[in-house]
Amino acid sequence: MSSAVLDPARVGQGSGDATGPLAVRTEGLTKRFRSGQVAVDDLALRVPRGAVYGFLGPNGSGKTTTIRMLLGLVRPTAGAAWLLDSPMPEAALAVLPRVGALVEGPAFQPYLSGRDNLARLEAADATADPRTADRRAGEALERVGLTAAADKRYRQYSLGMKQRLGLAAALLRPRDLLVLDEPTNGLDPQGTREVRHLVRELADAGTTVLVSSHLLAEIEQVCTHVGIMRSGRMVLQGDRSVLVARGVSRVRVTTTAGLTGAAARVLAGLGLDEVGTDGLRVDALLGDVAPERVSAASVAAGVDLVGFEVRHPSLEEIFVELTGEGFDVAR
């Protein structure tokens, strides 16, 4: 199917609403728990085919509940979800063989070895070919670097090894879609790099990847698209450019003593907001004013430009701005 192939033209589009074929789509998806808490509120998720979609948000923002609804584990209170164009949870048995998933951390039988745990999942998979089960399990273990520990009991695994086994389980069959909930949890920096590498490799082979994280930095480099959740709602979604566009750049003019007042007047004259000075430098929000207009106007007003700098906020800064304060959980 051509739709499973990464489409650069589509990935490059700067619209918040993806228009091409979607690997994951939800409309009005809502989950209200019996306690009355609304975990997910009217969510419209759009994951284009071939994308690496970074599903971001602080702990407790509703990412995992959304993923559970996508996979048919939890029933939505309202709204609908489609995986690879099939309605969930109705089409779970038809579509889930094409979906690999890591949900809220790995979980396996503690007294079985890694290999035996994969064999159990193979036995449970009615549509997988049992004749190739051992080979596929071996390949999956190899792929996540767990071959040496394959015959140790799961109980003896470190957190990082458990996470790797979870990834191996998701890779037991070729998948069109991978849903990875916090895949780097518990991994050291080297392991995190390996997961990023794996995600990129799978995406290059045409697999759509939905990867959630509460840490933007861990997945920022591999994402073609992002969706940011806060308190059960999607606050921003689209390809990477929407995130960059969302951040407002600042301009900073450094001049000689005595000219800061004139520089500030120039910036204010161009309609820039938040003009401020510290005696030598003047800075302001750039907004949609072209930086070259600022420099030209400054020179025309006789302001010597010792330095001129346009600063884009990092994705991290934008993420924090959108999701609220650092370490606090959403509720």
């Binding site: 559970r68 579509v95 889930l96």
Partner: protein, 298 residues
């Protein structure tokens, strides 16, 4: 369905882009069932439990053997007095001793753990997204629990038979009525008793399975199952409840003695099994209704 009707599939296909339902591999159910049985029977806790149950007839036989010539000879609960006459009765006596508590405990552990155990380990969500149909998983889990309970009853019976044969010897069986039947016929009756006791546990297995779908705490489901058996036993002693007693889970458990009469009343045996069937149907349906619709948030 073994064959696809091309016309039907063409009209049913909802959207052009929707993927066809992948065909299940032959023997898929058997593979999951074998995996489940390996898991249940290979688990150390369960092996220890089976060994413990197997030790009951051994201990019972040794105690009876060592006290047979003393003043205490022949004392104790029913059937024990007959063990010295015929080793075959050690099977019946052991089953009788295990019925009030040890067997319900075994049933509670096997069935209470079935779904709740996977939920508490978090493995339930991975089985379901593999995917496994929830109804199929429930059937496999029920089969696993029933197999374990059967293994428990058989462990008691087999050890009882061997210990009885070695300690007291096997001979023609004197029935409750005083009639004597040949050893082969007596052994068949004892086998029938073991089967009846095993089937008497099925209702409780269904109850435990239902509890297991309600919680993520396996110990809770296990304890609740045992409590149901105990409460049922207590209610069965209250004459005021005569109207409902025949429907109680435990009311017919001791009717296995019917098989030791010269002409067993098969209506009594069938009645006991019928009550179990009713409990299986009711609580099996409840478990199915609950499990196929429940949110899995563990």
């Amino acid at each position: 369905m073994s064959h696809a009707d091309p016309l039907a599939s063409a009209t049913v296909a909802p959207v052009a882009t929707a993927a066809p339902v992948p065909r299940a591999q032959p023997g898929a159910f058997g593979r999951l069932l074998r995996s489940e049985l390996r898991l249940v029977l290979g688990r150390r806790r369960n092996v220890v439990l089976l060994s413990g149950l197997g030790a009951v007839p051994l201990l019972l036989g040794l105690v009876v053997f060592l006290t047979r010539d003393s003043a205490m000879s022949g004392q104790g609960p029913g059937f024990i007095g007959r063990v010295t006459e015929n080793g075959l009765f050690l099977v019946v006596a052991s089953v009788f001793v295990c019925l009030p508590f040890l067997l319900p405990l075994t049933v509670g552990i096997a069935s209470g753990d079935a779904i709740a155990g996977e939920a508490s380990a978090g493995t339930l969500r991975y089985l379901l997204v593999t995917p496994v149909a929830r109804a199929r998983l429930l059937v496999v889990k029920a089969a696993g629990a029933l197999t374990f309970v059967a293994a428990a009853v058989l462990a008691i019976a087999v050890v009882g038979l061997v210990a009885g044969a070695v300690l007291f010897g096997l001979r023609d069986v004197v029935l409750l009525s005083g009639d004597t039947v040949p050893l082969a016929s007596g052994a068949l009756r004892v086998a029938g008793i073991v089967a009846y006791v095993g089937l008497s546990m099925t209702g409780l297995v269904a109850v435990g399975l239902f509890f297991s779908t309600l919680t993520e705490v396996p110990v809770g489901a296990m304890a609740a199952t045992v409590v149901v058996a105990i409460v049922s036993g207590v209610l069965d002693t209250l004459p005021a409840l005569d109207a409902i007693r025949p429907g109680l889970l435990t009311h017919h458990w001791l009717d296995f003695a019917e098989l030791l009469r010269i002409a067993p009343d098969w209506g009594v045996v069938a009645g006991g099994l019928g009550v179990q069937l009713a409990w299986v149907v009711v609580f099996g349906s409840l478990a199915w209704a609950r499990f196929t619709t429940a949110d899995v948030s563990s």
